[in-house]
Symmetry: D2
């Protein structure tokens, strides 16, 4: 098979985070610490995973960077926008995710990451109160201001490439409106007319990124790039888009555990998932309008793994419920509790309970790194539009629903998709099928 | 690809269970109930699973029996040996695994399954006290008596084929002794000399089965067929052997959950597994000598999935401990509690706790059915010796350790092996590799 | 101390249940089975508990019936109202709480318990759809119809005494309205004027019971008898009232576990309680208006046990959250999951998680029996109005909040109150204080 | 009631810890930090609890020090013996129980606490390897050397009183031998004859303490002071003794939770307790001989709270099992998992699972403080011998088994005993009875 034409990863890679809270600062601190040899980037596929390429006698196991040209950690430059003015050092300390001894060695570098003013609309996140906010007359003004930010950052830091990553809170639910979101022209029109109901601030970030030739990654469950208008924009700018919602705690477990049940042909009668978390994300999600965005994202996982049509005896009418609760005593330490009611031989019931004491930002940080590096790779490989191969990292993977394309939520199928994409970009044969 | 020459599954299939306790009677009752349309064989791959065959436009999803000739449930005839004289109906009622309403409709058929006298040695299971036991001078006499049982059963029931399945308790640990277990000749010699220390009763069952042209399946962790002498016997008789230890509760979860951690490149610092169960198996395992057999079987699972050599940052020096506790209040309802200590980004620790309220026999019964039907298939396909493709169903899958062959414990890799074997026997192309 | 003048428990005791669902039929079936010597009334204080009376050399441990005259199980006659017409046998079978073998021996007696038409208003329980309902023009008509039911039942069954027990669902939340609920006259006025917003159907049952000289017990969290008007009615009729909300699963644990924390002077930073249940009660509570009634009842428990004012270092600002989720796969088997964040020496955090796999009706049934028998005792002892000594059995114990009386939620303090009342009615000295 | 003659707490109180590991250093660090106002002594009854004294109009709630003369924290001087030579600062850092920021403010004081050489015998704790050990020819020499240590410490630090507290590991099980342990004379004889099998090193510490007029507290499950010989010694020296085994995690929960079950007359069919811990104590307890000492201590708890004789329907034949597992990934963070099988109305089963993520030393430290201060109080009040009122703090409370005295394990009965003793020493009336 012929090697694909992937551009080399030369020059600096600017990484602009929307939101400079727990996730972004944990990501940044970790990268800076790893660069100094003071920490390990555990959980990152691009830094650890090895995949098989070749077959039979040719078979070998290689790291991603041995197969395709990846940007190196040393070439990353960080920037951010946030509604609060605290710099990355102050914010990392405030978030209390990392111990001070794991932050202080890169204090100087973090202090230099001062957030630009955010493009913000309080109607989209009622519980946030920062005032480091742009003053924009219309959504289109927001776009213009953000584009200028990106250009200025790129120039000031001598970056050859930029990636924009949404690492901020969940906005309120914006249902897809065909009229406004159906075409790029309509969306641009709505931005100009300042249609605040249909154009979320996050859409302005995405549009600005793409317009400036930067891939855009949606780490929250917002529908931002999950609309035909953005797909058109991505195609027009030949840029990758990826989303949505980092697959961190409970959904990671669900997308990995449901396949166990399905593979063994055990039945399912119910799955109840509850979550407690106390960080800013938890606070925002305590608002029903914001939670709805998340709920839609979380519920779909199971339904596409255990499919009633394929096994009606086993998966018809199971009851699936997801709850998220704001619980301040835990801060960033999220805790998930899943109760799974299965049945076996002759229909006899059994129960599985999974209690996950996880750390939101610790799980999200390596996803940030991988999504950034792999989006940059995709851009250099000329892969634009929806990046299905990144489904592995996402709770609610993008898919072209207008073409009845179904999302892939099965963790191990997602992993095959990821490996195949790397193989293909590296000029190796992909495994043709994933099941 | 050419269709393999698999003999058709014509005539009756005799299924002889060693042990007529909870597992065997749940298996039998279920099959009889399913045959009458009164229950569903949930958890059985041969009855439910569909696998892809063909590629691209040729791709289709078929049940196993649509790919290869499988024995049908209606053709099964059950027999058993046990140290207790209770028939299958009485035993099913005593075990209290199934509700009476799920047993009574097949009471007549179950009552006819009266156990033959067992080949037994109390030194191998101190806590069992039945006296429905053969009187044999030597191990070789045991073999002769069991072979006669098999021939008599086959003739009396007009069976064309027999499979022998060990569904009895765990024997005490018999370490592999090269001198005695290394060759078939040495083993036969030891049987004749009545070397009780090296020849477990289970070995007499296995030898007798193979000698009579029947596949043998080891459902407990006994090393019975896990020795070169038996491999030689299987080769000589051209019969399949499979083992060892039904993969039911906690190990099923472990072999499915560990891949989640490994796939996401998360680190592992410890895994503690404890179990409470109150059935006869639990009683036997409370004896340290018997537990040791089980422990060896259970510990290996993890080590072959999360491999320190491949990812030293992530899997070096994790602490793995397995405990089984006899706890009568639960009877056959086993409960597993796993505590998993993982670490993520920058080494930060997280915990996952899995509490599995399972039912031992309910999980084992479909494995019995699948192992029986697939061993019979393998025999008809001329596949003899160790059946690696059955690893999916087993806690401690057999492998030729004298050739440094490593066992496959990863649930999803085992599944690929299973599917590939079915595809190959059906004349379809296998997926060449499993990772 | 002089023996109190308690009337003997001669004649039949009519027990009229509002609601003939899972709780009522489990209660009735159990009493009938116990009467035949076929079951044990486990969980019932009146049937099992022994309390100390006397001191020093005089000290002895006696059952309640050895101290005071208690009605005997053989003298109980059951009746009921329900919106569904199924008799007690049909309902017990439908509810699937008890196994058929535990119901069938008393089938004849249960079949004779046919529910009278209920006094019902769908605005108070939107998810219930039965039509075995009285046709009443006004709330006052409801009262009149119910009073007639009680009189008819009493006469038909030759009862000397009646107790009315609410064992039905939670109504929507009715906040106490001083104008309507403040005096008996105002309440009667509102009933006559058919003020449906302020007069819940449950108030008609309570009023009718008291008017007919029967104690009334509120087993749901409804505020029915928790208003000054009803206290006045109880005083006027010299009848006991008790409530509210049977203390079954999670609150039982909370009221027993919080004292462990408090007694050892450990700190509390948060307590998160979630519940899944699938019975009719769960369905009703999935409606936010009904849940609110429950939430108010459940939250108060903790606050009165761990009091910030007494130990500001330990109990200031803890976060307490209660969630109930309808989850049909479980039916009557409720499951509670509590996460308790405590802190110890130097403020270091620890966590306790309690997972309670309980059965709602199995826990409620003995409470029904005890509340009925002890209310009847109280009536015979001339104790009328709020029965604080019954707090032990109730999630949200009644107390005269107009006098700033505080409820007692501490399980062991409630137990002392219960014992003291029995002692006093039996003419023994009470322990003067409870802490 | 007349005020008892309790000597005032004037002068310095020397606290000598046997063992300068996690428990002792957490205790010391905390006391020093609290003294500086930098931490709170959460979990300490002597510092937080208030108890009622007086009745009726006289009733008031007072701290212990308002009722009886208590030593103040500022008057405490610490010393220790240990087999490792690390000082208290080094040891506190190594143990990793407390964060460095909670240790450093008292670094100077901690560094001055340098352990004296331990009286040690490796046969009693095979897994410990330190060599800061006394060289003694006989057990009697050990006693003499320890007595000298105590005298020297007292003089060097100008202490008016000393308390000796065992905060070291569990020794191997020493069954009570009537011949050797039955009288003081016999014990002294055995010490002089160097009977190492019957005289544990801990007995030398206890004997030395009492001989020097210091109360002795046994914090591990060793039988040290649980023998008639020591009772005689305590009587002879008129000194208090207390033990055994700090009631920290799982047993604390058990002694508090079992009363909930018993009080509500629910039945019990089984209680399974397992524990994982990774500190030095866990390592020692992984040795079967040492675990046996612990097991005996832990099992008795339940049996004396839920008594079969009193409620045969409810508590006959329940199955109780306790397991402790060394699990290094957790270090000092112990985790307990209890599974409790209860039954209710008509015998229907339910389950409660308690998962306690606790910290061994954080829970033990306030017990150390309370036991030290209250033993000192007892000595000043002239209460000598077994101190039953300290049962509240201990897993396996001492009691005179030669007189058929039963231990009190019920947390709330223990609490009443504690309060009564304080009341009595303060000249207030005790509540006469505890149940």
């Amino acid at each position: 098979m012929e090697k694909m034409n992937v551009q080399p990863a030369t020059g600096k890679l600017g990484v602009l985070c929307v939101g400079l809270g727990a996730v972004a600062t944990t990501f940044m601190t970790g990268v800076l610490m790893v660069r100094k040899g003071l920490a390990k980037p555990v959980g990152s596929m691009t830094q650890y995973d090895k995949i098989r390429v070749g077959r039979g006698a040719e078979k070998k196991y290689l790291h991603y960077h041995e197969i395709v040209p990846m940007a190196e950690l040393k070439d990353i430059v960080f920037g951010a926008w946030d509604v609060y003015p605290a710099n990355a050092y102050e914010s990392a300390i405030n978030c209390e995710v990392l111990k001070e001894k794991d932050i202080n060695p890169v204090k100087d570098e973090l202090e230099k990451i001062v957030p630009m003013k955010a493009a913000f609309d309080r109607d989209y996140a009622k519980r946030l109160e920062g005032d480091n906010v742009k003053d924009c007359a219309t959504r289109w003004d927001m776009v213009e201001a953000l584009r200028k930010d990106i250009r200025d950052f790129k120039e000031a830091n001598g970056c050859s490439r930029i990636v924009v990553l949404w690492a901020a809170s969940t906005e309120i639910y914006v249902p897809v409106c065909e009229e406004v979101h159906g075409t790029l022209a309509a969306l641009e029109q709505a931005m100009k007319e300042d249609d605040r109901r249909h154009v979320a601030p996050s859409m302005c970030y995405a549009y600005a990124a793409l317009a400036e030739g930067a891939p855009f990654i949606m780490g929250a469950p917002n529908t931002t790039v999950d609309i035909p208008a953005m797909w058109e924009m991505a195609e027009k700018t030949r840029m990758p888009i990826a989303g949505k919602d980092f697959k961190t705690g409970q959904t990671l477990v669900k997308s990995g555990f449901a396949p166990i049940i399905g593979t063994r042909c055990l039945g399912l009668s119910g799955w109840f998932s509850t979550n407690i978390l106390g960080n800013r994300d938890g606070l925002v999600l305590d608002e029903p309008a914001n939670f709805h965005t998340k709920e839609v994202s979380k519920l779909s996982t199971l339904e596409s793994i255990l499919v009633p049509e394929n096994q009606p005896d086993l998966y018809t009418d199971y009851y699936h419920k997801v709850r998220i609760n704001y619980y301040p005593p835990r801060n960033d330490n999220k805790e998930g509790w899943d109760n799974i009611d299965i049945f076996g031989w002759m229909g006899y019931p059994m129960q599985i309970k999974i209690n996950f004491l996880c750390r939101d930002s610790i799980l999200a940080a390596p996803l940030c790194l991988d999504l950034v590096l792999l989006s940059d790779l995709a851009a250099r490989a000329g892969r634009y539009g929806i990046q299905r191969f990144l489904s592995f990292f996402l709770k609610s993977p993008m898919h072209d629903y207008t073409q009845d394309e179904v999302p892939v939520n099965h963790l191990f199928q997602q992993y095959v998709m990821l490996k195949n994409a790397i193989r293909e970009m590296g000029g190796y044969e992909a495994d043709e099928e994933i099941d």
